[in-house]
Symmetry: C2
Subunit: 174 residues, 2 copies
């Protein structure tokens, strides 16, 4: 049994909320951990006690945000609707995603977390839409699609309806 004062859930949420708000307001690079602590009414040390750094904190803040999104669990969503939803979310959060992927290039631990919490889950969603394909083809399509999306993000090109049509056309040809 763990002894001592337990972690305060209110504080945890306040920090995640503050991080999310500040990043949306000012952009990832302009937000400091001190800013987050101040808005959350928390101490800086409380942040560093539970997160290894700014990257992991922001990742957590937006992981929760993504998982709060209305995941209408119809039994098998179509590839196109999934891709549309996928791109809508990625487009809204584009600046954050770009920053996190960028920061992850300099931080191995954050890189692992990012893949586990954001990259892999999205790939799995896509994979689930391709149950009717041959397994080898499935991986191929998933790779191509996520490759296209991440490239668009890093190159700062729009993930709009035109792109979705483009991507679907590619997949159809494979």
């Amino acid at each position: 049994m763990r002894t001592g004062r337990p972690r305060d859930e209110k504080v945890r949420l306040a920090i995640l909320t503050a991080a999310q708000e500040l990043v949306l307001e000012k952009g990832y690079a302009a937000v400091t951990t001190a800013d987050v602590a101040e808005r959350a009414g928390a101490g800086k040390q409380t942040i560093y006690r539970w997160w290894p750094g700014k990257g992991a904190l922001v990742l957590d803040a937006f992981s929760e945000w993504v998982s709060q999104a209305p995941r209408m669990s119809r039994r098998k969503p179509s590839l196109s609707s999934t891709l549309v939803e996928f791109c809508r979310g990625a487009s809204e959060a584009a600046p954050v995603l770009r920053a996190l992927m960028a920061e992850a290039q300099f931080d191995e631990d954050l890189h692992r977390r990012l893949i586990a919490q954001l990259v892999r889950p999205r790939g799995d969603e896509l994979r689930a839409c391709l149950a009717d394909r041959r397994p080898a083809d499935r991986e191929l399509v998933v790779n191509v699609l996520s490759g296209l999306v991440w490239q668009r993000l890093m190159l700062n090109e729009p993930l709009d309806a035109r792109f979705v049509r483009f991507a679907l056309r590619v997949v159809q040809r494979i």
Copy 2:
């Protein structure tokens, strides 16, 4: 006519060489402009006089390196040989490419430079290998290939022979 002492070409090259060596030795993140200046026998100010920052400097250092690569100008290289060469170079310089693309996410000017000096030229090389395809297909293939490569880079997965076969299989299906 420009008056005053002209820019010293020796110094320019010494700085680029020092930057290149140091980045290869210690990795992008561990190199500071002060390090580069010291090894080049130059002053820090001389770096900032000609480059806006570390990113642009390293980009220039490796742009020259790439363009020095033996570009055997046979008339029309095949797609597969180009892709192999492409991946070999990208694989060797992978840590630098990752770091530059990452830094570019926080620096709009560097982002433009990176695309103009590295991303676009490589895309053009690929495009030149696809002269026999319909124009619409060409863009599609170029996008898919460069998307796959950049994704592999940012996800830190190997750009090996197996990947090349994979990529070629994808293209063949389109």
